[in-house]
């Protein structure tokens, strides 16, 4: 989906290739949060792992990839639901008019106290028109579609196991990342939770990376740190919540590619467990 100046193509292609082993998920809605099920609609779309109470949330996500100034992702996602059902829709734009693509996506799923899951679909279209042969007609911008799913299941009362299969099917222009499978387990007690995860691209099952992280929450704020191998790198994130307004940020340091910064601003209207459903 990337067609423009060769030098920039090389830079961004190298960055994307390196990200292949980073996570088995897409990057259009990859907001700041720890691995596993999330309350963020953007991440429902990203991973297919919905979590959280009934209500509505609006996510504004911005990502600066690997220190590339011209290569950022901006996305907007809104999602929520009532009872066990959840729905999220979102749009995103990555890169610029020369090298980049626009995305529209949706996810639908359910949540119960002991399990959850969602189906996700995303369509991407290049922002630039491909260079055509002299004399040939104007080509249309390439489009690609990707569908996947995710699910999680409770183990006992304090742990969950999850699996994200974000790209079960793809058609048209190839997706920017080779997304295979991510599985993990998260557990915790009181305000501390920890997780272990494994993820791999579809065509390099023997190159899977392992992730370990821990989150400490205190009142309306939380901080998490995460370490990954191949190559070894770390991420640190924080989020804070106040009266239906939430901000989150995560910084990932890559030894070769540099720093990736994720920011998210969330507006929410969430029904607490004690509040009756209308």
């Amino acid at each position: 989906m990337i067609r423009a100046r060769p030098s920039r193509i090389l830079v961004i292609a190298a960055a994307l290739a390196a990200m292949v082993h980073r996570r088995a998920c897409a990057q259009d809605f990859d907001g700041p949060d720890h691995a596993g099920p999330s309350v963020s609609p953007a991440l429902w779309i990203e991973r297919g792992l919905p979590d959280g109470d009934a209500g509505w949330r609006l996510d504004l996500v911005g990502i600066a990839w690997n220190g590339l100034e011209d290569f950022t992702t901006r996305s907007l996602a809104i999602g929520g639901g009532g009872g066990p059902l959840r729905l999220a829709i979102g749009v995103a734009s990555t890169g610029d008019a020369e090298i980049g693509w626009n995305s529209a996506a949706a996810a639908t799923g359910f949540i119960s106290p002991r399990c959850g899951g969602a189906l996700r679909a995303i369509a991407r279209r290049d922002r630039s028109i491909p260079v055509s042969e002299p004399g040939a007609g104007i080509e249309s911008r390439p489009i690609g579609i990707e569908c996947g799913a995710g699910f999680w299941s409770a183990i006992g009362s304090h742990s969950r196991l999850w699996a994200s299969l974000p790209a079960l099917y793809g058609a048209g222009e190839a997706a920017p990342l080779d997304r295979g499978l991510e599985t993990g387990i998260v557990g915790g007690a009181r305000d501390v939770s920890a997780w272990l995860a494994w993820s791999a691209p579809a065509h390099a099952a023997d190159q899977g990376e392992r992730t370990a992280g821990v989150e400490i929450a205190t009142g309306p704020a939380a901080i998490w740190v995460e370490a990954r191998d191949r190559p070894f790198r770390a991420a640190i994130g924080v989020h804070a919540h106040h009266r239906g307004f939430e901000v989150a940020a995560e910084v990932t340091e890559h030894p070769v590619l540099g720093e990736t910064l994720r920011l998210a601003l969330t507006l929410e209207r969430v029904r607490s467990a004690s509040e009756p459903e209308r």
Binding site: G117, A149, G156, L168, T183, A205, D206
Partner: protein, 493 residues
């Protein structure tokens, strides 16, 4: 409706059935199929099969490692009922394929008919009550004792070796006729297996038995083999001999109370072969032992075996499995296995050779599996790695799977499963996937992903199973394949 009428009507409906009449309605059958055979995906998320081996299912060693392997499911039809099924499937770039199934089980008649283009399980089995006994015709897979003389012997590098269950190999299956007397423990058999003609007679009591089989091979040379066996809940054994005085014996003993220890051994002449020589040689000598703890919330199982084909061709295996049964029927299991030496010693016509395969040698493997979830939402996740060097280095196979089966409404089931894999040439990663009437072991070679989506719902008095399989190989081209399978069971009385 009389059972015979049912069979005749169904046969007419099913049209030009090219099946070979076969029998042994109780005998499990298996066969190989090309990779393009009808298949649907993984029942990764199906409820745990207590008999499944956690180290993964593999076809028998005489199967082509490059091809899928199909096994008839051990799904016994209730007495006084019949089953019909139609299946359509299509793989991208190939024509539509059709498969049909009919099974009848009555006190006086049993029939099992499959038909379909390229279906490796196509064929028919018929068993009927006759004067003084039961007559079965068609493809038979008889087994005496532990399979040393008739049937196929177990492989000591597999978990099921100690058990008395029939090996899954198709080496001993072939068309034939079998008569079992009703009031006498007498069994008569005439069979043809891979150009070997057999005629056998057995006296088969409740636990012990003795039999003689006469074999005539391609060269029209005749020989006789004799077997004496015992099959009891905690002990089993067999002593086989041929007319030239060569013999082989095998025995298994298991303690009935804790500690649950099993000991097994095999000994005999190198040149001894069963009535139908398997494609790969069976080990001449075996020593095996196993121990497992009581089925507590956390159970432990250990197994070790050593075998020898001949002086220079030996092998050994050790395995450890830990299983934790959690509340709500959840289960976590982990296992480790190490193997040395040869597993396959190929046979050339007329003589044996020490031809090893690329899959032989040192292997170390580790697996971790989860099955569970709340009612109506069963999840599975599995990690598996095997290497040719210690510490799981020089990876020969790597696979990761996850699957879910949801039952949103009674009678409707939706399943999604996906596996990413990489395997070395000659050592495919096998993926066990259940279909309505069979289990398919898919041989996944190279690197890629196989995803399967299944929807099951009631329709037309039966059950429809719609499956979409997406296989993405190293060239990143997605190969879709769909199957629509309808099956209905009805009681005849």
């Amino acid at each position: 409706m009389r059972p015979g009428t049912v069979v005749i009507i169904a046969s007419i409906v099913m049209g030009t059935m090219t099946a070979t009449i076969s029998a042994g309605a109780q005998a499990p059958r298996d066969s190989t199929a090309g990779a393009g055979a009808d298949s649907a995906g993984v029942d990764l998320a199906a409820p745990a099969d207590s008999d499944s081996t956690l180290e993964g299912e593999e076809p028998p060693d005489d199967a082509d490692p490059e091809r899928d392997y199909e096994i008839e499911r051990d799904d016994l039809l209730a007495k006084g009922s019949f089953e019909m099924g139609y299946a359509f499937s299509q793989r991208a770039g190939s024509s539509l394929r059709r498969r049909r199934l009919l099974r009848v089980r009555e006190p006086t008649l049993e029939a099992h008919v499959r038909d379909g283009q390229g279906d490796p399980l196509a064929g028919a089995e018929l068993g009927t009550r006759v004067r003084g006994g039961w007559l079965a015709t068609g493809r038979l897979a008889p087994r005496w004792g532990r399979g040393l003389v008739l049937g196929t012997p177990g492989d000591p590098w597999r978990s099921g070796f100690m058990g008395a269950a029939a090996a899954r190999s198709r080496a001993g299956a072939g068309d034939g006729v079998e008569y079992r007397a009703r009031d006498l423990p007498v069994d008569l058999l005439v069979q043809r297996v891979r150009r070997v003609a057999l005629g056998g007679f057995a006296v088969d009591g409740a636990h012990e038995g003795a039999g003689m089989v006469v074999r005539r091979d391609e060269s029209r040379a005749r020989s006789a083999l004799f077997s004496l066996w015992s099959l009891r809940p905690n002990t089993s054994g067999e002593l086989g001999a041929d007319s030239r005085g060569r013999w082989r014996g095998e025995g298994v003993f298991e303690t009935a109370s804790p500690p649950f220890v099993t000991l097994a051994g095999r000994l005999g002449h190198t040149a001894f072969d069963g009535a139908v020589p398997p494609r790969t040689l069976a080990p001449r000598s075996i020593v095996a032992t196993a121990w497992h703890s009581p089925p507590a919330p956390i159970s432990l199982a250990l197994a070790a075996s050593w075998w020898r084909f001949r002086t220079a061709a030996t092998g050994a295996r050790a395995a450890l499995e830990v299983r934790a049964d959690l509340p709500q029927h959840d289960r976590i299991a982990a296992g480790w296995e190490e193997r040395h030496g040869r597993r396959r010693v190929a046979r050339t016509p007329g003589s044996a050779c020490d031809c090893g395969s690329g899959a032989d040698g040192f292997r170390q493997g580790l697996w971790l599996e989860w099955r569970g979830g709340p009612p109506g939402f069963t999840t599975t996740a599995r990690q598996e790695i095997s290497g040719a060097r210690s510490g799981l280095r020089s990876v020969t196979r790597r696979a990761a799977s996850a699957g879910v089966t949801a039952t949103p409404v009674r009678g409707i089931e939706l399943g999604i499963a996906s596996t990413v894999y990489r395997s070395r040439s000659g050592e495919p990663q096998y993926l066990s996937e259940d279909e309505n009437d069979r289990r398919v072991l898919h041989a996944l070679a190279g690197a890629g992903r196989r995803s399967r989506m299944v929807l099951m719902f009631p329709a037309a008095g039966g059950r429809v199973r719609a499956t979409l399989v997406l296989t993405q190989a190293a060239d990143r081209v997605t190969m879709p394949q769909w199957t629509l399978d309808w099956t209905a069971r009805t009681r005849t009385r």
